[in-house]
Symmetry: C2
């Protein structure tokens, strides 16, 4: 197979389809989403059989249990995909929304219209349900999608893709609006991220290694976050109950998510009072604690934290703890070590809450709330395709609006510039 | 001079200053802008003397009259810089603006806060007034600026920079918030566009060659437009007076601007009626006409247009004209040849106006208005640092908001995720 020629063809088809999808009306896009749901429902056996091939290959290749679990497609998993499609169909269509249409002194009216980005390339790893999620969000936001899943999920992804295409066809839309790369050759990714004439933005979903590699080599803009080194800072003026509740939830509600707290900062004035109860709560849940010297002077069973700990996303039941002099020291620590994902202050102090919100340079900044809330569903976006820690374009959880842009519109009545 | 080491130092200083400027209050930023205006007013002789050196060097190097004109700093030019600074001081501060703060079912409040991008690198050519414009817009939007002007304007830019620094100092702000690159070595640009750790976005202002080079080599996001191949389409249902007025204004009000029309499209049904009057108006103003075969069959003194004409930004009194079958053909032509800057339809038809607005994929799309309106001042942005034809981040005229991003803020009362 000539990978370059194949990818050029995929790109051309995607660009053509994107023009149709961009102006498809909301009803037609919703029909396609619901038809995809029907197609998945009718293809359960086929989907599970295809997935069985992937699982068998994966076992033979010696994939670990966690990877095999993420790869697996079950009846319950198909239910979730179907439910997700119906939810996206129920969301408001962002495309064509006109805002801020105002008369100017010259008599023209100037406003903004929300428009699709064009063609979105999604590169992801083992979870086949991403195929449905990504396809549905791109379609609803009026974009064509080029999907490149992991090689270990190729049969599952192709089976899901057949249902997606059936849905597009049933709704009278161009089937090329969602294309799955048919080859597992790595060169296909290299091509996809370097054809700005056909692909407008890349969304990588996967481990840090994948995302770093793509960001480095891409000639197309990338919407990404590398990692989530999130902080909770317990201020001098924190309410003790809220501090305990939030700090425990932020670490222990789930360990493997990017919005999980990795470093707890605590004001020196409250450390002796609060750290023992916090340590007990963490240790009861089996969380390993690594702390600065001042932390170790207050609680037992704490490993000495090194410089590395402040810059590590554990994604595991491990927490680093640092006692800081005051909020300023906390902000300096955060702006130095944070991955600009999510940080939260626990305080009852009005002035400090305002200052923390303003001075912390992260994509989500919170007061008295768990970092675990940093999520498209929790924020009311209806869905998310990922979380961006970049400042350009989308920032924080990226929902349908993050997959669109805006153009200016000008309405006149024969107006000319004098 | 070790350029790499110098640029690293500039970058580090900019990054440090950006943290101070990001949280500086509006009053302090406005004081700095007004103090810059005072400093320029007090330094007129010094500015004109420095500019004289650049003009003398330019003459010796044989720069042409147009370039020397753009390079020149006069008393009236200084008045304009001062006026510009006062205008920017008068604009609302975008930084810290909180929008869409809404309660979610969980009880948390989620909203967005507008924040600076960080450090903005501006690369521009001969006009020294850009130094003041760029510095003022970056400062007001809470960003540090690294400015790299053309080598031919180095003395003028340094003299202006001294006034800018005086203003920052008078207001108690870090003078490194605006830095002018002190060397004319080209390597400095190469460094500046490849240090994402210190520079968050590059705004190139200049010819297409400069912008293409920077876009190709940058490892930092670039806000740019390459060129302005703008279209006016006169529809079957156009009002004849509006068509003449707008089509003449869009081409002839100024020839060298990016929002000037370069190609006129006209519906076949109206060509015989309208083209003769249009041709006369253009030819009276000395505009050279290049047309398709159908155009040449209707009007005289028209050169045969080639494929090249449809993709050329003349920036000169030259216009290409194409007779098209209908609006669909016009949209296809535009989406093929346009640089996605600005397009306008002249029509009285409600349905077609809606369809044109939706289907044309450009950063500004107009109905019955001259493309010349595509401008930050005309759109009410108060000022603009450039026009972006990209879809990610800012699109169309880029004002203060385009130099900012948004972060999510979450306000809770000890809320945790269940």
């Amino acid at each position: 197979m000539d990978i370059a020629a194949y990818m050029q063809e995929v790109g051309r088809n995607a660009r053509n389809a994107s023009r149709q999808i961009a102006i498809a009306d909301s009803g037609q896009k919703n029909s396609a989403l619901l038809a995809m749901a029907d197609a998945l429902d009718n293809a359960r056996e086929m989907l599970i059989a295809a997935n069985r091939k992937d699982l068998k290959n994966g076992e033979e290749k010696g994939l670990d249990a966690a990877l095999l679990d993420r790869l697996s497609v079950t009846d319950a998993g198909i239910d979730k995909m179907i439910e997700g499609l119906k939810q996206v169909a129920g969301l408001a269509d962002p495309v064509g929304e006109i805002s801020d249409l105002k008369y100017r002194p010259t008599g023209i009216q100037v406003g903004m219209m929300r428009v699709p980005l064009g063609v979105i390339g999604i590169i992801y790893e083992s979870r086949p349900n991403v195929t449905v999620e990504a396809a549905s969000l791109c379609l609803k936001s009026g974009n064509a999608a080029v999907l490149r899943g992991g090689s270990e999920a190729i049969h599952s992804n192709q089976a899901i893709a057949a249902c997606v295409k059936q849905g597009l066809k049933d709704a009278g839309l161009d089937e090329a609006a969602v294309q799955i790369i048919e080859t597992t050759d790595r060169e296909a990714v290299g091509q996809m991220i370097t054809m700005p004439e056909y692909v407008d933005v890349i969304v990588p979903r996967g481990g840090k290694g994948l995302i770093e590699r793509i960001s480095r080599d891409a000639r197309v803009p990338v919407i990404k976050h590398l990692d989530g080194i999130c902080h909770v800072y317990i201020d001098d003026d924190a309410d003790a109950d809220k501090a305990l509740r939030v700090a425990v939830n932020a670490k222990t509600q789930r360990y493997g998510t990017c919005n999980t707290m990795e470093t707890l900062l605590i004001a020196e004035s409250r450390a002796a009072e609060l750290l023992p109860a916090l340590a007990k709560a963490y240790q009861d849940k089996g969380v390993e604690l690594r702390g600065c010297e001042k932390t170790a002077a207050i609680i037992t069973d704490v490993i000495a934290a090194t410089e590395d700990d402040w810059q590590t996303e554990y994604l595991a039941p491990i927490l680093s703890i640092k006692v800081v002099e005051d909020m300023q020291a906390a902000i300096v620590h955060i702006n130095t070590y944070s991955s600009q994902h999510t940080e939260s202050i626990i305080t009852e102090n009005y002035t400090k809450s305002r200052e923390f919100l303003r001075a912390v340079d992260s994509s989500s900044v919170m007061v008295n709330a768990s970092t675990r809330f940093a999520d498209g569903f929790e924020y009311g976006l209806g869905a998310e395709i990922g979380i961006s820690t970049d400042k350009l374009h989308a920032r924080g959880p990226v929902g349908l609006n993050g997959l669109t842009s805006q153009k200016y519109i000008v309405l006149g009545d024969g107006h000319i510039r004098e």
